[in-house]
């Protein structure tokens, strides 16, 4: 039987100069599941991710000790062929970083590096992974145009396709939706959920909602220390550690009481806006209003407008194919 854990790390310490960023982290990432690394900014989440594919080597003065075992290979061992390790791990960055070439060449870049020269085979590979990345339909007629002409959301899906094209077993995501609008974020999340049947996915996020939506397994880091890890349900519903509980509650109201609900389906902007304002006008300060909308424009514009009016937007999420839920607490 194959080992259930795909990546195991033992006593990993990372240093930037004298500053110790990771402290004796020992944890394992289950195979073909989504593992979310959560924690506040500066807690070492991204550093841990960078250790996995040793991209941390590029950082000046960085040093890592310990063991990171991927398929019985110790990644941190300096005799390991690091290019081979890296191609087994696709990386989805924080900000989309298309390469300075065409859409086609971006996806073909990896396969070409690893020796695929045959034009027909490259064409097939490019199409296959653009489809998996959910971008093919949008770009099939302009594969030769520069990647920088894509929208930022499309660029991120291109990066996903490019990472998958080298046929990795693991996908590392470093806050992959933090630079994207809600609709593009949603798109990336859906792709990741689809991909987990074939890949082991590690996602760094400081968005608790995202972690709840995606993760099967959760690792909570705080100031470089491993606070808690376990199955997502256990950690989110019943955290063993007080720090984890505090972190989750601090950003997410698990026992959020909805005081009033308004269904705005079928309305377009600016009517969504007007009705939302009216609804907020009718409730007391501090009470919570839930809106259901189905106009894509409202998903970004209503929360923005309400925040501008001094109300607090608690969450925005898609509840089914067409509908979105916006939760707002009435403010001053």
């Amino acid at each position: 039987m194959k080992n259930l854990n795909h990546i195991s790390i033992e006593k990993v310490n990372a240093f930037y100069g004298d500053h110790r960023v990771l402290k004796d982290v020992t944890v394992a990432f289950p195979r073909k599941q989504i593992t979310a690394i959560i924690g506040p900014s500066g807690c070492g989440k991204s550093t841990l991710l960078k250790c996995l594919n040793r991209l941390i080597d590029l950082t000046e003065g960085a040093r890592v000790t310990g063991k990171i075992i991927v398929d019985e290979i110790d990644v941190l061992n300096s005799s390991v062929d690091i290019t081979d390790v890296r191609r087994r791990m696709g990386l989805l960055p924080q900000k989309p970083n298309p390469l300075p070439m065409s859409i086609y060449d971006n996806v073909a870049y990896g396969p070409r590096l690893h020796g695929i020269k045959d034009k027909k085979k490259l064409d097939e590979t490019v199409e296959k992974y653009l489809r998996i990345g959910g971008l093919w339909e949008e770009v099939k007629d302009r594969l030769k145009s520069p990647a920088n002409t894509l929208s930022i959301g499309q660029q991120q899906r291109l990066c996903l396709a490019r990472g998958l094209a080298v046929e990795p077993e693991i996908i590392l995501c470093d806050e992959p939706t933090s630079a994207l609008d809600p609709v593009s974020s949603q798109h990336i999340e859906q792709q990741l959920l689809k991909l987990k049947k074939d890949y082991t996915i590690v996602i760094v996020t400081h968005n608790i909602h995202q972690a709840m939506r995606l993760a099967d397994y959760v690792i909570h880091l705080y100031l470089g220390e491993l606070v808690e890890h376990g199955a997502a349900n256990d950690v989110f519903e019943n955290p063993k550690e007080e720090r984890t509980r505090a972190y989750i509650n601090g950003t997410f109201m698990t026992d959020l009481k909805i005081d009033s609900e308004v269904n705005l389906k079928g309305n377009v902007c600016p009517f969504n806006f007007v009705y939302a304002k009216q609804a907020l006008h009718n409730i007391e300060k501090g009470k919570v209003l839930k809106l259901i909308v189905d106009d894509p424009l409202a998903v970004t514009e209503v929360p923005r407008g309400m925040e501008a009016d001094g109300h607090g937007v608690l969450s925005v999420k898609q509840i089914n194919k067409t509908d979105w839920e916006i939760v707002i607490r009435k403010g001053g």
Partner: protein, 282 residues
């Protein structure tokens, strides 16, 4: 002084500086065209100097045009072949952060500021030592030395600007340093590299002092790398030095030809880099 006046004063200052720059450039070009255009005949660019050319008789300065093109392009290609790897090696990924790189940059900056006559004299001494006489090859080598610091430092500046995220993307796909350097860094920095080459070419083709001793001067066309060769800056210098107004006018015409060559190359490379530019990540 209130902010509005400050703003106005600065705007005025900026406009004045621009006027000085554009005005003086325009004056130089106007003087050259005014004096040179009447003397610019077809035979100027198709013939070599005949007997008595420097007294105002028949002939042209094809020798200097061909010589300058040979010298400038030869040295540009040689300098590019040396500068690109050198500039790339100064990346952080290679030796960029070492003490050695610091001293290399320092010495390049000093070399950049060294007068070209020093290069010429240095080249001349080495050639004497080797028993070479003034030749196209000598000129190319000394011009290459002259261009190296400019090219390397200018290229390094643009290579440094390549976002680290692009390199990370390449590395994370399993690329080696070399593959990343040529597959991503050079592609992203290409327009800047073209500019660096152009900058160096301009210095190379316009320099008189460094080729004075090393390439020599001759009225005939070069037949091999070991023949002495004429150049446009020296042609301007010699013709201006004569007491005859007709020959002096030809000096301006020669300067005009030099200007046109630089302008043509500038426009071509601008056109080319516009085509490369479309893929650049901003």
């Amino acid at each position: 002084m209130d902010k509005l006046h400050e703003e106005k004063l600065f705007k005025l200052l900026m406009l004045a500086s621009l006027a000085i720059v554009i005005g003086s450039l325009f004056l130089v070009i106007a003087v050259i065209i005014w004096n040179g255009a009447p003397a610019l005949t077809f035979s100027m660019i198709t013939q070599t100097p005949k007997g008595g050319y420097y007294l105002g008789k028949e002939g042209g300065i094809l020798n200097a045009i061909v010589g300058s093109l040979y010298l400038a392009f030869g040295s540009m290609i040689l300098a590019l072949a040396i500068s690109l790897p050198a500039a790339l090696s100064l990346q952080k990924d290679y030796i960029g952060k070492t003490k050695a790189a610091y001293y290399i940059r320092l010495s390049l900056d000093v070399l950049w500021g060294t007068p070209s006559i020093v290069y010429g004299a240095f080249g001349f001494i080495v050639m004497l030592y080797l028993g070479m006489r003034a030749s196209l090859l000598g000129g190319i080598i000394v011009l290459t030395l002259l261009q190296l610091p400019i090219m390397i430092r200018a290229m390094e500046e643009v290579i440094k600007m390549v976002p680290v995220e692009l390199k990370e993307a390449s590395y994370s796909l399993g690329a080696t340093k070399l593959e990343t350097t040529f597959g991503v860094v050079v592609k992203q920095a290409l327009p800047g590299i073209v500019t660096a080459v152009l900058l160096a070419f301009g210095r190379g083709i316009g320099d008189a002092a460094s080729v004075l001793f090393t390439a020599g001067y001759t009225d005939s066309l070069p037949r091999s790398l070991f023949d002495p060769v004429a150049s446009l800056p020296l042609a301007v210098f010699f013709q201006l030095g004569t007491p005859f107004p007709e020959v002096q006018a030809r000096a301006y015409a020669s300067a005009l030809i030099l200007l046109i060559i630089v302008l043509a190359l500038s426009l071509t490379s601008r056109y080319l880099s516009k085509r490369f530019l479309k893929n650049i990540i901003r």
